[in-house]
């Protein structure tokens, strides 16, 4: 399963990630096959590892809700989040309009979004046990997405079409809202988007393994009756953050991979995570209608 995920991310996440990954796999394979090498469980047993705060928050211009997740890192390298309950969480805009988020489930804080607006700057403050964690983020506007469409273009290909402004530096996050897979996002810099995206489209997903009707869906689950994709604007910091995270899918931490590094987020006081403000648009597609 993990491997399947790697493939999915690989195929769409970021070009250079794919690039690195292939090589490390190729190498490992060569070694495994040709030179009697093998793998064995290994206990790193790293000393001095401490638990750190992790804050993940999103505010959009879609006036539904704003949410923040708060958890802690696990020095035992476990797979379940250590959720943080009882924090006080506030978000406000430049004008000073403040939202106080309520803990709706353990570690998950929400409020109705009444302030999200493109072009504004938003601030986050988390207080937990005498410690304060803050962040601020600008919400970049999305370029006009009048032509935004998603098409199934045969050969198991889903393409997204829209007018990409040529003279701006833009970063996008595509998310599969429905169905929602375990890792249902792709980030892309317009540097890697063909100038003809309005007519040629950007291939969100394709591959021989995929059967649109009965097989696997673009982002990890399927089959689906309809496809809802959201397009969000990103700051460069957000884009780099997701790319760095994505590198974890592709790096094996080994000698042929780049030296791994933690993504650079915007939360203060040594906490990990990211507070992101994004403009967002949605597009729906019914495979049967083609």
């Amino acid at each position: 399963m993990v491997y399947y995920l790697i493939l999915l991310i690989d195929m769409s996440f970021n070009i250079e990630l794919i690039f690195m990954k292939t090589k490390s796999y190729a190498l490992v394979l060569l070694i495994v096959i040709l030179f009697t090498s093998c793998t064995e469980k290994f206990d790193i047993n790293f000393e001095n590892a401490t638990s750190k705060m992790v804050v993940e928050g999103v505010i959009t211009n879609d006036t539904t809700r704003i949410w923040v997740n708060i958890s802690k890192t696990d020095p035992n390298l476990g797979y379940n989040p250590i959720l943080v309950s009882g924090a006080s969480v506030r978000v406000w805009n430049t004008a000073g309009d403040t939202l106080v988020l309520q803990e709706v489930s353990r570690g998950h804080y929400e409020a109705t979004n009444t302030i999200g607006k493109s072009g504004d700057v938003f601030n986050l403050l988390v207080k937990y046990k005498e410690e304060e964690y803050s962040a601020s983020s600008y919400m970049p506007p999305l370029p006009s997405l009048d032509s935004l469409t998603v098409k199934y273009t045969g050969l198991d290909r889903v393409r997204i079409f829209f007018e990409e402004p040529a003279n701006e530096e833009n970063y996008y996050l595509f998310r599969s809202i429905d169905p929602a897979g375990p890792w249902n996002i792709i980030v892309v810099s317009d540097k890697f988007i063909s100038p003809n995206i309005a007519t040629d489209g950007y291939v969100l997903f394709a591959g021989r393994r995929i059967d649109m009707k009965n097989g696997l869906s673009p982002f990890g689950v399927g089959p689906w009756e309809r496809l809802i994709i959201s397009v969000s604007s990103l700051n460069r910091l957000d884009y780099n953050y997701f790319c760095s995270l994505g590198m974890q899918f592709s790096t094996n931490g080994g000698a042929y991979s780049p030296a791994p590094a933690n993504p650079k987020g915007n939360i203060s006081n040594g906490a990990l995570g990211l507070f992101r403000a994004s403009s967002v648009s949605y597009v729906t597609h019914y495979p049967d209608s083609i």
Binding site: T39, E40, D74
Partner: protein
């Protein structure tokens, strides 16, 4: 935009003049010094060659018993010795050759070409060898090719680079790779010269096999961070590899047949004693072996789990070709033409993420050796070197083809001047042109999301001059003083970005074809002092400064064939290093043992590292991903060489550290380099059990390499991720292994034309599972080689 170019115009004009003056000076110096030479009364000069195949012998000792003075031959076998007395007794000696003693009555200059006869140094050449070692030069290590061939190796492919790894002061990040770290330098800081032409990637099959075919190599010298002013361009070492010359007497054919590669070398005279040709080729077929194994596995009686799910159409092969033509024009002139080509194709398709990589080196070298007079020897070298690499991503949506290359043309002039019995001068220089195309990307299918683009080429000119004097002050003290002036100029056509302190582009400058962009220069003083404590021991002190005008953008510690070379340019400074070392060398005659101790300290400036999670892929503003830093390295190296009767022992131990600091990485704190492995021990033994059977073994023990590892996990967007430690904060467990090999050579070989040898070996005898990589996904360690037996057949006729 225009304004900017004009404002930069002036200094560039000056630097152009500056550059020009370098070339003019280069030639003036050479002629001037020759003309003002004062004729010494008595002299012997000539070249020293091997009697069997006519190849020249470098670093031979020529010693006058009468005058008690000596010199050594230069890299083309030329020597010249100035003498006082009329009746001379002169001894010519060289490792592995019989001494030749010449009695001569001398009144004037005398041309004396000497042919030395080979000798099995393991049996009878002990003393000569030992004497040679007593005279050891600080920082220099030489490999004996025959020794390399008998050492145990991975799958029987004798490997020059792996043999270098046994020497003190030489490190590798991970077992089995060819990227050397010498005295705390990274692997792009080594100048690897094959017949004077630089080789940019010394590895086949992702560096698991070195690109040099030992059967075509005559000699290998490694200069560790201190080298003669004759060499420049890299910070940490010079690995000077010389191809064999063709046999000028008779046809000789030899080769090896091995598990993953085989080779054949032909060497013969085109015109006896005048023109010779060497042809050598090697073909490696690991992919075919693998495909064969997979096919074999289909047999119900053989079932290897690891092979069962693999396809049998993998492409992994390589070849290398060496050609060398040498021609003796007359007694004073020789010309050589050597060419080298290597190629790799790499495609392992078991996973659906298909990719195809290919890379290769090409070099052509032309040389003209000229004996000007009894004291002067000149060598002109022209070379062309190209390293090209490509990557073909065969995945439809993100499919693309990436091609890249680096090529350089250069002319070098070297002058050896044996002024008198005290001074041996050398001077010369080099001019060159280098062009680098970092990336050209084209989509490889109509479904690809990629659009074609090309990252602009970078072009540079180089101009270096040097002069040095080997000055024998008296019988006790020898002084080596040298100075090198090295420079590089970036020229257009180019697009240059200017960045602010946040590495954001604030301006773009356009340069026309040939227009100067940036000029860098530096002075590199080299100094060494040798003090003979006794005839058999010396104390040496060396200081050297080196500069490097080219960087390898390698985001991984081991490097990949597709890593990009980039010159120092408008935004990236050249790097420089200073080193001080002290050494003591002693030869214990009674027990035929050489020991040496060397201590060094180096500081390296302007090394490059990358911002965290750097975006290097096809990035035309790659400078924005680079951070300059510094490194310090220090250590102590012990070595012991003993050659008694049938047993040959080499033991070395090194304690070495390499730490670096890059602002912007690791919270601006010092951190260890990946190859920072403090303790290194290696022992190689070679024992002739019978006349027909020799056993060799290698034992190696080092501290583990450094790595950045996961320290905790956390959840983001519903998925678990890992948090990493500080850069290289984790040290792998100790590395150690033992290899043994047996060489069988039939007694019949002595009488028959077809001579054959069998080599049977085991790599990693006790199956130590040394870590190669830790997979941070599965928390598994991957080890490269378990116990690995092999067999090789070597033939010669």
């Amino acid at each position: 935009m225009k304004l900017i170019i004009i404002s930069f115009g002036k200094p560039f004009n000056i630097s152009l003049l500056h550059m020009k003056s370098v070339y003019v000076l280069l030639f003036l110096v050479s002629f001037f010094i020759v003309d003002c030479s004062i004729a010494q009364k008595r002299q012997i000069y000539g070249t020293i060659t091997d009697s069997q195949d006519g190849s020249f012998l470098m670093a031979c000792n020529i010693y006058s018993l009468t005058d008690s003075v000596g010199v050594s031959s230069n890299s083309y076998g030329f020597y010249s010795i100035s003498l006082h007395d009329t009746n001379q007794v002169i001894i010519f000696s060289f490792i592995g050759y019989r001494n030749d003693t010449v009695y001569i009555s001398l009144n004037d200059k005398y041309l004396l070409n000497i042919e030395l006869k080979r000798q099995d140094y393991r049996i009878a050449g002990v003393d000569i060898y030992a004497e040679q070692r007593g005279d050891k030069q600080i920082g220099k290590q030489s490999l004996i090719i025959e020794e390399i061939k008998t050492l145990p190796s991975v799958l029987g492919t004798s490997d020059l680079v792996k043999s270098l790894q046994l020497l003190p002061g030489v490190q590798v990040v991970a077992e089995g790779t060819s990227n050397l770290s010498i005295r705390g330098g990274s692997h792009d800081e080594n100048l690897i010269l094959l017949d004077e032409a630089p080789i940019y990637n010394p590895g086949h099959v992702l560096n698991l096999v070195s690109v040099f075919n030992t059967d075509a190599i005559a000699s290998v010298d490694l200069f560790k961070s201190f080298f003669s002013a004759q060499y420049g361009g890299r910070l940490s070492s010079v690995i000077n590899i010389r191809m064999q010359e063709g046999n000028s007497k008779t046809l000789n054919i030899h080769g090896n047949i091995g598990v993953v590669s085989s080779d054949l070398t032909l060497s013969f005279p085109i015109k006896k004693n005048k023109t010779t040709l060497l042809l050598s080729g090697r073909y490696g077929y690991p992919g075919n072996v693998l495909n064969g194994l997979v096919k074999l596995n289909d047999n119900p009686f053989i079932s290897i789990h690891a092979l069962s799910s693999l396809p049998d159409d993998n492409i992994v092969w390589f070849y290398d070709l060496n050609i060398k033509l040498s021609h003796i024009v007359d007694k004073n002139n020789r010309i050589y033409l050597s060419a080298y080509q290597s190629r790799d194709e790499f495609e392992l398709r078991p996973l659906e993420s298909n990719s195809h990589m290919e890379w290769g080196n090409n070099t052509i070298t032309g040389r003209w050796n000229h004996i000007r007079n009894s004291k002067s020897f000149t060598n002109h070298t022209w070379y062309y070197s190209k390293y090209s690499y490509g990557y073909n991503r065969l995945y439809e949506v993100n499919g693309y083809e990436w091609n890249s290359h680096l090529q350089e043309f250069s002319y070098k002039y070297d002058h050896d001047y044996f002024y008198n019995d005290k001074h041996h001068l050398k001077w010369g220089g080099q001019i060159g042109y280098r062009q680098i195309l970092p990336a050209e990307i084209t989509p490889n299918s109509e479904f690809s999301n990629f659009s074609s683009f090309r990252i602009h080429e970078q072009q540079t000119l180089k101009g270096d001059i040097y002069i040095e004097d080997k000055y024998r002050v008296n019988n006790k003290i020898e002084l080596h003083v040298g100075l090198r002036y090295s420079s590089q100029m970036n020229i257009g056509e180019d697009v240059v970005y200017k960045y602010d302190s946040y590495l954001e582009v604030i301006d773009t400058l356009y340069y026309k074809q040939g227009e100067p962009i940036k000029y860098y220069w530096g002075l590199e003083p080299r100094l060494s002092l040798k003090y003979y404590v006794s005839r058999r021991s010396s104390f040496q002190l060396a200081y050297g400064r080196t500069m490097q005008f080219i960087h390898l953008l390698s985001n991984s510690s081991l490097g990949l064939p597709t890593d990009v070379w980039l010159p120092a340019n408008y935004n990236i400074n050249p790097s420089s290093a200073n080193q001080v070392s002290i050494g003591y060398f002693h030869n214990f005659k009674k027990i035929s043992t050489d020991v040496s101790v060397e201590v060094y300290y180096r500081s390296i400036n302007n090394i490059i590292d990358f911002i965290d999670n750097a975006d290097l892929f096809a990035n035309d503003q790659v400078e924005s991903q680079i951070l300059p830093g510094k490194r310090k390295a220090y250590g102590i190296e012990f070595s012991l060489h003993r050659n008694v009767g049938k047993l040959n022992t080499n033991l070395s131990y090194t304690y070495a550290r390499a730490l670096q600091k890059v602002d912007g990485v690791n919270n601006d704190k010092w951190y260890p380099a990946q190859f920072d492995k403090p303790h290194n021990l290696s022992l190689s033994l070679n024992y002739k059990i019978f006349k027909t059977l020799t056993i060799s073994s290698i034992f190696k023990l080092t501290s583990g390499a450094r790595a950045t590892v996961p320290v905790s996990t956390y959840v983001f967007n519903g998925k678990t991720f890992v948090e990493y430690s500080d850069r290289n904060a984790y040290q792998f467990p100790i590395y150690h292994r033992l290899d043994i090999s047996f060489l069988y050579s039939s007694l019949k070989n002595e009488d028959r034309k077809w001579k054959s040898k069998w080599i049977l070996g085991v790599y990693n005898v006790y199956n130590r599972k040394n870590i190669f990589v830790i997979d941070s996904w599965s928390m598994n360690k991957i080890y490269l080689y378990g116990i690995l037996p092999y067999i090789t057949y070597r033939y010669e006729f």
